[in-house]
Symmetry: C2
Amino acid sequence: MAKLLQEYQIGHTFGIATAEYHERRARIIAQLEKNGQKGIVFFRALSIFWLSGFGFIPTERPVAFVLKTDGSTALLVPRLEVEHGQSHAYVDRIESYPEYPTTTHPMLYLQKLLGEMGLANSGLAADGDGYGAYWGYRGPKLSEVCAEATVSLYPRLIEEMRFTKSRAEIELIKESCKWGNLAHMLLQKYSRDGASEIDVSTRASSEATNAMLLTLGPTFKPGGMGRVGASAGFRGQIGKNSYFPHAVTLNATMRKGDVLVTGAGANVCGYVSELERTMFVGEPSAEQTKYFELMCQAQEVAFDTIKPGVPTATVDREVRRFFEENQLMPYWRHHVGHAIGMEGHEAPFFDIGDETILEPGMVWTVEPGIYVEGLGGFRHSDTVLITENGMEFLTYYPRHLEAMICG
Amino acid sequence: MAKLLQEYQIGHTFGIATAEYHERRARIIAQLEKNGQKGIVFFRALSIFWLSGFGFIPTERPVAFVLKTDGSTALLVPRLEVEHGQSHAYVDRIESYPEYPTTTHPMLYLQKLLGEMGLANSGLAADGDGYGAYWGYRGPKLSEVCAEATVSLYPRLIEEMRFTKSRAEIELIKESCKWGNLAHMLLQKYSRDGASEIDVSTRASSEATNAMLLTLGPTFKPGGMGRVGASAGFRGQIGKNSYFPHAVTLNATMRKGDVLVTGAGANVCGYVSELERTMFVGEPSAEQTKYFELMCQAQEVAFDTIKPGVPTATVDREVRRFFEENQLMPYWRHHVGHAIGMEGHEAPFFDIGDETILEPGMVWTVEPGIYVEGLGGFRHSDTVLITENGMEFLTYYPRHLEAMICG
């Protein structure tokens, strides 16, 4: 079994310890036993990473992770990932298939592996009925290749286990917030009249990434599945275009008077955070100031509502009430926020239709937005942790108007 | 209907013209009519972009594009994308739902839209039976919300239409190759003994991106769904770690004698390319030189085999024969290459199990690799176009040993 990185790196304080992988698996096993199942197959790359520490590039070649109720684990990978898996995956056993598509389908190798593990004709759980359609992959369903097993699907199992974060996970998210903060500081420093959106963004992101890696030192391994390092940018939300809540990068040039809506974060061993700010190139107009202040107040309404035991829907409902009381509904475009940890957005949501109750250890973005046609968008996003008594800011960038002026 | 970017930008020579969107849709309509279907629903973001020019950030909020056999089109988006869609999507009609999850599920808005379009109780095609599990989304199947329609699934329809590229698409891929070449030149320039993998990669990528955007000018809109600009990097394939064909970035420091396996490309209006090279920090050893030359010869075997009318499997088979004849099978890890255009990998594949026949207008990567434990990986990847008579290199970076020495 591969040693996990943090076990042989002196001074390396980040990462998920072996015991935590065992604890995650034990929770799954308890659920399988309750349902009378002998094992479970995971096809989702992020879930495989979460259960084994194996970060890899998902392609058309399926990867599957198998967990049995006796605690034993196996990983099925394409031939090209065998040694990579041996070095980086925390699993008992690695099996491989030569290639995809080749002449024998990878799912038949999975069938054989499940047979050898005694799972071919048992109650079998899975996160999906086969590998998803990705980069040209096609193949049979798990229930087709394991026709003698009773296959039950649990697509939300890992997602729901990830709602509440462990102490180690929270530390990684906090570390992500630090480097997102640096990237955002640099983004603000370089934003001025005449600056190019993409130039400012790539400069801030690469300088912050390099500072992050020099600071954490050579024993730090970025890990995870996604983009390496810290980043900050605008995603096209420059000037009037900031009116689009989800614009895409447009190669814009900033001009005096523009509203800028930013986004920053960093990937630390697969964990992320979200920091967004509404900034101005030069002094904001009276109208820009008005909507900026209302947006900050809407975010305060959310902060004041967030505490353990409160339904997530209540947070969205209180913010909507603030929008209604201030005649802001014409400028409303989206709910208050989402959970965050390893993906850009995660369930559950601060949304009137979400039925989750807030619990300590959950990590959320808080980001109500106001979007005024012809003027711009107004949105701060902060990442916050639910604590025993309320909430704690994990992002700590200034939020007030005077600190938001660039150039 | 939104004007497409290239229609109002003077001097903007890149992009897909309106007529090409009509031509793409006409091919789909012909197929629907053959199958007796009145319309089709697309949920995949990339397919929606390909059919409407609407590049957006896929989230837990589903987006659906509907095409009827009479040529009419509609887009269902969340409220936050309405104005963005109106400005950027080439469609007749945009409908929206307030938010996800909220109190009425987005799929019920799709049900209503399909009813209004006269598709609720007809033969209906779709690229999937509902929106995929993405960023916490869950919802009913299309066949459940349209119980009176006969829903037929065509998950591969757009993928297969994209096998052969149009003239405009080939131009975009060629433009991508240029900026990938620049990023790679800078990557090589900065690679030397003691250099940091991530520092070299972020410097090369941001400088190439800025040069690309200054060159193409302010009328150039990056477009597409993915990362903006040009990039080059190593993805952890530094020194002995280059032995892993799909390593992940490890914050490595380059040392004299290291093999480096690189990757470079650029996103131009949603189109990409692939350029990979095997480089050396300082002079390569005799053993490194041996495997480098064998790798180049394996790539030549592929180039010599590629021409219209040849089965893709033959290309892989010929390269495997070369591996066998040279006792290289212990170092074999993957097939020869994949189609490319808009995604990192696309079907079909240069693989003994692939049944596609090469046709003019297809674009492929050619990248047989040799992986020697303790020594490193050896892989060039070039992007090539199938022509009437053979193939044309779209990537044009030097391939020979003398040009591969860094530092």
